[in-house]
Amino acid sequence: METLVQMSFYSFAASSLALGVASLSYMLYAVGRVRVRRATMTTSTGTTVTSSTADFLPGNIGAGQFGTLLTWFGGVFAFLAVLFRTIAAERLPLSNMYEFSLMFVLAISIMYLIFERIYGIRHLGAIVATIGFGMTLYIWSLPADLREITPLIPALQAGPIMTAHVSSAIFAYATFAVSFAAAILYLVKSKRNIRWLPSLEMLDDVAFRAVTIGFPLLSLVLILGSVWAHDAWGVYWSWDPKETAALFTWLVYAVYLHTRTLRGWRGNRSAIILLIGFAAVIFTYYGNYFFGGLHSYGGV
């Protein structure tokens, strides 16, 4: 078992490295290049005049492709890290913040690559891969004893329902990260009109599609959590801070969907709601650090 745990950790380390370099590559691709041209003229009086012009150009396509390749590596190594740990623990690694975050790195890699494939745009990677890399840095910062596999406490021994509940949360948060990235790029593009970024319409659609995946998943999180709570605690809703934080997140995305589909909001206003939504996701994700209550066994 020790060997598998070590292999899982080494795979995670490789994933972390791959995502770190991927985020840099994507940034180079998304930010673009500046080409400075200098012209020197000599006047009839013999005076030399030098002028400079700067051209802003799309980023190197190779950097974007390299980013994609490394995100694939990051995803595959994250998958291996999860796989080895699953074999060692004989369950999916979902019981503490180390395991949860490891799964998140895998989920965000998968969700990003799906969106990149469907829409054929790599610019989102500058933000999504950076979030994935940031999550790996968070994992590095966790106490080393969380890397050890420990038996589940009785409250977490809920087999399929725990797997479904926590996995739904991870994939919901990962897709919200994609919508967050699209919202950021939308705001940048609408302010600066950087021509090589994807069109505003496409960015708006990416954000919306990501929410249409994340929102039902988050609904499932609340429902499955309620079913589990009913079995474990005898009540399906306890107004526990972690529950209500997830409800808050759900409501923010409900506002986004209502304003977009019924009020016809789009553009900057919708993008700003998505930023608030992702802030709510982070608030819920790291809630274990400052909430008490029934979810305090998250092991931070």
């Binding site: 929102f215 005898g234 801070p241 008490g292």
Partner: protein, 496 residues
């Protein structure tokens, strides 16, 4: 100055009608709905933060906020009337909106308008057109074939010299919004049903060998046969389990075990494993020799100031005007050893007999350490510590809202899936029959649907291939620059 009087041709409405109309408009307003959800989100945020140290951090940073923060901590947001009113308003708004939207949506599904206008297609952001030299019927059949192959239904209507057509798919998914919103109402109804008709006892403690009545109008009682708690080698709890016998009207009707995540159902009641603790079997006789107490005292529901970490219990004896505090040995290695001032050994309990009323000066508190099996006179009482046993803390609940909750869950997820994954796609077009052939122009109703536009372009190209022509396709400009202003809020022609 000339005065003009305008006579209103329509009969004036009564104040009641005006009031009803205003209320209806209030509840059907999308702007108000968004405001309600936003308010709810803010209240949920306030309630969530109340369960954290965040408000106190704010007060520490700005001490002037301390009174506000104290009020915040004291405010039971989720139990407050304003929160209940807001939920009720949202539930009513959902119901009213559903009724309000149903006719329009049903119209789109059952009898869509086929006829369109040239101006509408002319002004469309996205459109496609081409000319076909063949017959009108060939073109109509070809287009119908292209649309139906993509699961669209296809309608035509002759308008003068033009043939108008309308195609749509996933029309039934448009109804997905109704189960979703109905689910939200049902969740609230489930909660109300549970609180009105159900019961929940979170502190149902039963000691080993004892039987406790469930109450709440039932004839059920529970005997705890044995409680077991298992630990791993690392000292981590691996299982808590209560073996119980359930009695109905005093007759044993069910035996079983209750564990965390493994509740036991009997009749209307469900038993959940909550906690556990140790209990002390005590026999207390009064000065007259009369037995005052002969029960198992559950420890842990009371903290003794002298040793707050240790399991403790309290017995009130009003007939004697005293209370007996009992403290058992502190065996939990996780507890702070410096707080264990009593240093009790296994087989011992510490007792303090004190007046019920602290203002009674006639009875002085008396303390003693009892050894198991050895009676001891403490004040006017004779106490016998018979043995130490275990007790379990169960939750007993009857929740008639659960079936409603499960139905709501299915409706919620199903409604969302139908709405998001089967979007309504619509295309309108006109085939103009002229001397030079038939000119087809068509446009998708997909103002905010990038995927819908993509599918439209694909179908337009497919039509070009079929009719051996190159359609003129107007796509959104590369930048897709739309304006973030109110004029853009008008939706496609039919969605309001």
């Amino acid at each position: 100055m000339a005065q003009v009087t305008v006579a209103n041709g329509t009969p004036s409405r009564s104040p009641v009608e005006i009031m009803i109309d205003r209320i209806w408009r209030f509840f059907t307003s999308v702007r108000v709905a968004v405001l309600e959800i936003t308010l709810l989100a803010l209240m949920v945020l306030l309630g969530t933060l109340r369960g954290s140290d965040a408000p106190q951090w704010m007060a520490n940073a700005a001490p002037a906020l301390q009174p506000l923060v104290d009020s915040w901590y004291a405010w039971d947001v989720f139990g407050s009337p304003i929160f209940a009113i807001l939920l009720a308003v949202i539930a009513v708004a959902i119901a009213v909106c559903t009724v309000n939207r149903l006719p329009a949506i049903w119209g789109t599904i059952s009898a869509p308008r086929i006829r369109t206008s040239k101006g509408y297609i002319e002004r469309a952001e996205v459109k496609a057109s081409f000319t076909h030299a063949g017959t009108l019927d060939e073109l109509r059949q070809g287009m119908e074939s292209i649309f139906t192959s993509r699961r669209y239904r296809f309608f035509t209507e002759q308008v003068g010299n033009d043939l108008h057509f309308y195609a749509d798919k996933n029309r039934w998914a448009k109804l997905g919004t109704f189960p979703f919103h109905l689910a939200l109402i049902l969740l609230l109804v489930g909660g109300i049903v549970a609180s009105v008709y159900g019961f929940r006892d979170t502190n149902f403690a039963v000691a080993e060998g004892e039987t406790q009545s469930v109450g709440h109008g039932t004839d059920l009682s529970v005997e705890l046969v044995r409680f077991t708690d298992d630990y791993t080698q690392e000292g981590i709890a691996s299982n808590y389990e209560s073996e119980v016998v359930i009695y109905d009207n005093g007759q044993p009707v069910e035996e079983g075990s209750i564990s965390v995540n493994g509740p036991l159902n009997h009749g209307v009641a469900t038993f959940y494993q909550g906690g556990f603790g140790i209990s002390v079997d005590l026999l207390i006789d009064g000065a007259s020799g009369r037995t005052l107490y002969d029960e198992s005292l559950e420890m842990g529901f009371f903290n003794f100031r002298g040793n707050p970490d240790a399991p403790a219990g309290l017995i009130r004896l009003p007939s004697e005007g005293v209370q007996v505090a009992v403290v058992a040995p502190d065996t939990d290695r996780a507890n702070r050893p410096d707080l264990d001032t009593l240093q009790l050994q296994s087989g011992q309990v510490w007792v303090q007999v004190a007046p019920l009323s602290t203002s009674d000066p006639d009875i002085e508190p008396v303390t003693a350490v009892l050894d198991q099996g050895t009676p001891l006179e403490v004040g006017d009482l004779t106490l016998l510590f018979e043995r130490e046993s275990r007790f379990t803390v169960l939750q007993v609940a009857y929740n008639p809202g659960i079936p409603i909750f499960f139905i709501a869950s299915v409706l919620l997820v199903g409604g969302l899936a139908a709405t998001f994954y089967f979007p309504l796609r619509r295309v309108r077009g006109i085939i103009h029959h002229g001397a030079g052939g038939n000119t087809l122009t068509m446009t998708p109703l997909a103002k905010r649907d990038w995927g819908g536009k993509k599918e439209f372009f694909s179908m337009a190209e497919r039509a070009g291939e079929r009719f051996h022509t190159t359609p003129t396709i107007k796509r959104p400009d590369h930048e897709g620059n739309w304006h973030d202003d109110a004029s853009q809020e008008s939706d496609d022609e039919e969605t309001r």
